[in-house]
């Protein structure tokens, strides 16, 4: 539904040039919820604004529903009002001089051929119902709460039955509780309508919980694209593993590669000892790698002396912090610190000697 090919855009400001997007290609299928995730300044919002037609990119091509809306080569740039899209802005951009009804009716009033009054009224009512704002039609827009403004923005974006829905960090201005509710609600509305959605956020939790497909961006390029579970469990780069969830990193060198061809396992020399890890097919002995292990995958037991098996290491508890739903522990192993999670009811004192098990299937080695 949305196809982007080799998109590039440079901002020229008084302080010099900034390459916001450097050659991004992606494909969002019909009805898919696609998320661009990355730290601020990574170019994700710029891509969204290029799709909306709010920016003039320097190079590449953008297609919406098969129609070329931008092509640097062919000199095509369709203005935003002719792209038939819906968009929710970070600031919501609710027009303060209009009522709730007028805000939602706006996109319908600019449809050609003109719609009948009755139809406009009916479709506005339906859109407001969809976001649970029915009954507030006549209220001046500035007199809505933050959450209501957010819903209004969503209704306005969807009322015209756009080909695609663009969401620019729509949850960032809400408080934590409301944000969680709206995550669920937005996804539900989108599912019900089956509208293709491009979503931009810097919150990993939003990307993980809402997307069908997500792309992690850094410095204007996509680092990794895939389903949320795939990105979380098999990050392709240290940046991805670090940006999404918490991760322990161990640097090391590949000693040998074994296992079957589909899922090779390598022995890696790290500061805490030799570690068996999953690697990709391209990994060879002698490669410098970083091993990533999620805290929730590290198993812990009291050290009762005696050596451990594969990927088992002795250490000392350095700190235990209570965070409500878990204990956040740091264990020192041969000068490195490994973070892990424990059930809040566990009792573990600082200085206790423990043994850590790092399961092979959860140790992921990435090329450095």
């Amino acid at each position: 539904m949305i196809t982007i090919r080799n998109l590039a855009m440079t901002y020229r400001t008084a302080h010099g040039e900034h390459q916001a997007v450097r050659g991004v290609s992606l494909e969002v299928k019909q009805g898919e919820f696609y998320t661009l995730l990355g730290p601020s300044g990574c170019g994700k919002t710029t891509i969204l604004r290029c799709v909306a037609g709010l920016e003039h990119p320097d190079a590449g091509e953008i297609l919406i529903g098969g129609e070329v809306v931008f092509s640097a080569e062919r000199g095509i740039w369709v203005p935003p009002h002719n792209r038939n899209i819906g968009m929710v802005f970070q600031s919501y951009a609710i027009w303060p001089h209009m009522t709730v009804f007028e805000n939602v009716a706006f996109p319908l009033r600019h449809k050609r051929p003109r719609l009948a009054r009755a139809e406009i009224r009916e479709r506005v009512a339906k859109a407001l119902q969809l976001v649970h704002l029915d009954g507030l039609e006549d209220r001046p827009a500035p007199y809505l709460s933050g959450g209501q403004q957010q819903r209004l923005a969503l209704a306005r974006a969807l009322v015209g039955e756009p080909r695609v829905l663009l969401l620019d960090e729509p949850l960032s201005n809400l408080d934590a509780k409301l944000r969680e509710e709206m995550r669920f609600e937005i996804r539900q509305v989108v599912d019900r309508l089956g509208v293709t959605t491009l979503f931009v956020t810097h919150e990993q939790i939003e990307a993980l919980t809402m997307s069908d497909v997500m792309a992690v961006m850094k410095d204007g390029v996509i680092i990794q694209e895939g389903a949320p579970a795939e990105i979380y469990t098999r990050p392709a780069a240290e940046f991805v593993a670090d940006f999404i969830g918490r991760t322990n990193f161990l640097r090391g060198t590949v000693a040998s590669v074994g296992g079957d061809g589909d899922m090779p396992v390598a022995s890696i020399e790290t500061p805490i000892g030799v570690l068996a890890c999953r690697v990709d097919a391209a990994t060879r002995a002698g490669d410098a790698v970083t091993v990533a292990v999620r805290p929730e995958n590290v198993a812990i037991a009291l050290d009762e002396g005696g050596g451990g098996g594969e990927n088992s290491f002795a250490g000392t508890v350095e700190s235990v912090v209570y965070v409500g739903n878990m204990l956040d522990c740091l264990v020192a192993v041969a000068g490195e610190r490994i973070r892990l999670q424990l059930h809040p009811s566990a009792s573990l004192a600082r200085g206790t000697n423990v043994r850590l098990d790092l399961p092979v299937e959860h140790c992921l080695a990435m090329q450095r």
């Binding site: 909306a52 037609g53 709010l54 009002h81 968009m87 303060p96 600019h110 306005r156």
Partner: protein
């Protein structure tokens, strides 16, 4: 601090009270036979001429507003919302235009489109073979247009600020909703900006209503009055003693109308924040690409500067260099002489320069000390009655300059004469200049003080600094850029001021602007032009200083 704030409030109250009191009394003040009466109000309200003047003033102000907005709106949009080239230059020129003395530009217009001597008129009559002059600037519409052109920079800066405060996402959302650019402009941009634009328009209207320079120079000799010039002429009758009671009454009425306008202004201004959508994010304006419209846009802006500023000032220079005004030609060029400059009364010019310099030092300094005190009392203390202090400091903004001039005159003549005979001295000018600039000063200081978090002062006093120490070591250094900027701005306003001294000056305490005024009244236009030109020349280094300070304080902020 508190004493200074109270002194400032006291000065405002006394000046206005004197006018009010005199408007209700009969006979010479100090006279034992003095009686309270409503006769002056009856006289003024029953005089048909009052209504004619009122009608003139309203027409004058409305035309001025229309012309000012017609220039300011497109230019502000070009500067804030398009990729117009060389924006800092335009902003700088606009600020300079704001400071060029109004009487100098008005004088230039006399030479251009005066019915008898205007060169443009004569040229058109010669070329088109007309029997009569096509333009007459000594009419209410003519004066209104000239006033409008000189108010355009003020309107421009106010509109630009309004445009800057809008979230561009509001427009982007409309475009995405399918609205074409014209519909976006009409249905979203203009509607959202409406309260802000309305406030700016009312403000400009208030200034136009109180204007003195343009109607005085263009209209007085033809006896076409607006309120300001009517008050002035009532105080300087050709025969007999002035009717002080009636003048005071006119001043009260004028002040009341102006105060009403500023109430409207405050109301409109309060509407504006209702529309502000809080995002906590700095707005990045939506910049439209001019593309092939760039050359016409540049031409339009250039045309404004040429017509509204350059042409009248060039005429001023031309008139100053000729023994008598004539159409530019080779023959006229041969007559060019510096006689108008060398013929200026040297001692008087030097005295005027000295007086102006003294005023430019004293007025901004005293105003800023008082304003800082008022701001501090209003914003940082819990003193009872601080709201009254705030209101009194705002009041001068609403009061036309000529009313202050009248007030100071009456105060000096009838109240202060036995105790402090300051009439005819520079101190009377200092007093009235300071009071008139008090609103501007306090607004600037309020703005600067609000930006300084209270905790910065509190932490200084917890670290052991006394109140004076907090002031000296924390507040003053942090407010310094804003103070320097405001100081220079007030100094420049003092330099160009004509309305305030017009009733208070004589041969000894005259500022430079009054010297020019004297030549205009004596119909020595050549010398008036020469003196104006000299004044503009002397202003140049001060303008440069201002430009540096404004950049330092971030006040010239085009993108």
């Amino acid at each position: 601090m508190v004493t200074a704030a109270l002194a400032a409030s006291f000065a405002v109250v006394v000046l206005l009270a004197v006018v009010l009191w005199l408007s209700f009394t009969d006979g010479a003040p100090g006279d034992p036979a003095l009686a309270y009466t409503l006769a002056h109000y009856a006289d003024v309200f029953l005089d048909a001429f009052t209504y004619r003047v009122l009608g003139n003033t309203v027409l004058f102000a409305v035309i001025a507003l229309a012309v000012a907005l017609a220039c300011a709106l497109p230019m502000a949009w070009l500067m804030e919302r398009t990729d117009f080239p060389g924006k800092p230059v335009v902003f700088t020129l606009m600020t300079v235009a704001l400071l060029i003395p109004g009487f100098a530009v008005a004088l230039g217009w006399v030479f251009l489109v005066h019915a008898k001597i205007g060169l443009l008129n004569r040229a058109l009559m010669a070329v088109l073979g007309l029997g009569a002059a096509p333009f007459n600037v000594a009419t209410v519409p003519g004066m209104g247009m000239v006033e409008g052109l000189s108010l355009a920079p003020l309107a421009f800066i106010m509109v630009a600020v309004v445009l800057r405060a809008m979230d561009p996402a509001l427009e982007e959302a409309a475009a995405i909703a399918g609205a074409r650019p014209v519909a976006v402009m009409w249905r979203v941009t203009l509607r959202v900006l409406w309260p802000g634009l309305l406030a700016a328009a009312i403000y400009v209207l208030t200034i136009g209503f109180a204007a003195f320079d343009v109607p005085a120079i263009l209209g007085l000799s033809a006896r076409i009055f607006t309120f300001s010039t009517y008050v002035f002429s009532a105080l300087t009758p050709t025969a007999g003693a002035p009717e002080y009671g009636e003048v005071a009454t006119l001043s009260v009425i004028m002040a009341a109308i102006a105060a009403l306008l500023s109430v409207c202004y405050r109301t409109a201004q309060r509407q504006a924040p209702k529309y502000a959508v809080v995002t906590g994010k700095a707005y990045r304006p939506r910049i439209a690409r001019l593309g092939r419209w760039r050359p016409p846009a540049v031409a339009l802006v250039t045309l404004y500067f040429v017509v509204a500023q350059l042409m009248p000032l060039a005429m001023l220079a031309w008139a100053a260099l000729l023994p008598y005004l004539q159409t530019p030609s080779a023959a006229a060029l041969a007559l060019v002489t510096l006689r108008n400059f060398t013929g200026l009364p040297r001692a008087l010019v030097l005295r005027a320069i000295g007086n102006t310099a003294l005023l430019m030092l004293l007025v901004p300094s005293i105003t800023l000390v008082l304003s800082a005190a008022v701001s501090w009392v209003v914003l940082r203390t819990r003193l009872r009655g601080r709201a009254v202090v705030d209101f009194l400091a705002f009041l001068p903004l609403a009061i036309p300059g000529i009313v202050f001039s009248v007030a100071a005159l009456l105060l000096a003549l009838f109240v202060l004469r036995p105790v402090a005979p300051i009439y005819g001295t520079i101190w009377l000018l200092v007093l009235v200049y300071v009071v008139a600039r008090l609103s501007y000063g306090t607004r600037m200081m309020n703005g600067a003080l609000i930006q300084i978090h209270r905790e910065l002062e509190e932490s200084a006093s917890i670290c052991g600094a006394s109140t004076a120490g907090v002031l000296r070591r924390v507040l003053v250094p942090l407010m310094a850029p804003a103070m320097v900027y405001a100081w220079i701005w007030i100094a420049l306003l003092t330099y160009r001021e004509l309305t305030l001294p017009v009733l208070l000056s004589n041969g000894s305490n005259l500022p430079f602007s009054f010297l020019v005024w004297g030549f205009v009244q004596a119909s020595s236009y050549g010398q008036a032009s020469a003196a104006s030109l000299l004044m503009l020349g002397l202003m140049a280094p001060a303008l440069f200083l201002y430009w540096i300070a404004a950049r330092g304080a971030g006040m010239i902020a085009p993108r």
